[in-house]
């Protein structure tokens, strides 16, 4: 009997706690929602395209090396057979 009498009180307390937590989370959420400031310096002068170009050049160089290697290996394979 004693237990059953206690339960509503606990429930009320949990509800209160939940309400407080919800309120807090609402406030903290409001902080999170403020727009994230991105680093726009890289983009402001349009020179990011130079970086893209450089990376693409390096990538192309690597691919050309791979093709060169592949041809060399093919030649060797033919010599062996």
């Amino acid at each position: 009997m004693n237990d059953q009498q206690k339960k509503p009180a606990i429930r009320r307390r949990t509800a209160l706690l939940l309400a407080i937590l919800l309120l807090m989370s609402k406030f903290s959420f409001a902080v999170d929602v403020s727009p994230v400031k991105m680093d726009d310096a890289l983009w402001s002068n349009g020179k990011i395209y130079v970086v893209v170009l450089v990376v693409l050049t390096i990538f192309l160089g690597i691919i050309l090396t791979l093709i060169h290697l592949e041809r060399k290996i093919k030649k060797l394979e033919k010599q062996v057979q």
Partner: protein, 233 residues
């Protein structure tokens, strides 16, 4: 594998990854900011390593079943190239962590798991180097590579996701899907994974052909010995 179309596909996908990956608008995220673009470069390194290790594992098993030394060569080369990609994943991860988590190494469970499974795979080569007999070496190494692969899965996939990790998708952290609210990142991420994997496959195929050329005398000897039923001295 001697066809060329998939190599052209690899170049196309990676060119798309570089161009779109650097220039597409990205979702504004706290702390990570523009560095979310590393998703197209750092993460596919690990994916490529995993898939190459799967191939290495399968060829290891194939060697144990069929006993053809060629399969052993395939298995080793897949593991070598997998480790190269894994090392690049490790270095790029530390570089990224320096600017987002504050330090290159923070004993994050996923960092530790990846380091451990890479060490296990490095030990694979120590083991190989210690056995002079070619067939014994191949057999023991193939068995070991099964253990190494079986250990990698809990180390990289299961254990980090059970504990708190700085990596997304672990512990209380939100996964990659919550970053990608409008599915824009996926449009570059998936082609990037395929492109980088195909590059890994291409490099591995060259490694394998080189090794087959180098070992052709040995392969011939073993074949002849197997045909006459005489053991190789």
């Amino acid at each position: 594998m001697r066809q060329h179309w998939w190599k052209a596909l690899c170049v196309l996908l990676l060119a798309y990854t570089v161009i779109a990956g650097l220039m597409m608008p990205v979702p504004p995220l706290p702390i990570i900011h523009e560095s979310i673009r590393n998703l197209f470069f750092h993460v596919p390194m690990w994916f490529t390593m995993m898939i190459l290790f799967v191939f290495g594992f399968c060829y290891g098993i194939r060697y144990l079943i069929k006993g053809n030394l060629k399969d052993d060569i395939y298995s080793v080369q897949f593991i070598i190239v997998g480790l190269i990609f894994g090392s690049m994943g490790m270095v790029t991860g530390m570089e990224w962590a320096k600017y987002t988590w504050g330090q290159p190494w923070s004993n994050d469970p996923k960092q530790l798991g990846a380091a451990l499974s890479m060490l296990i795979y490095f030990a694979y080569f120590a083991l190989r180097g210690a056995i002079p007999d070619e067939e014994k070496k191949a057999k023991i190494a193939a068995v070991y590579s099964i253990f190494a692969f079986a250990l990698m899965i809990p180390f990289i996939w299961i254990l980090p996701s059970l504990t708190d990790s700085l990596h997304p998708g672990s512990g209380g952290n939100s996964g990659f899907n919550t970053y990608d609210l409008d599915n824009e990142l996926r449009k570059v991420f998936y082609p990037a994974v395929i492109g980088w994997f195909l590059l890994g496959l291409w490099i591995t195929s060259l490694f394998i052909r080189m090794k087959l050329l180098k070992q052709r005398e040995l392969l011939k000897e073993i074949k002849a010995a197997q045909a006459t039923g005489q053991p190789l001295e």
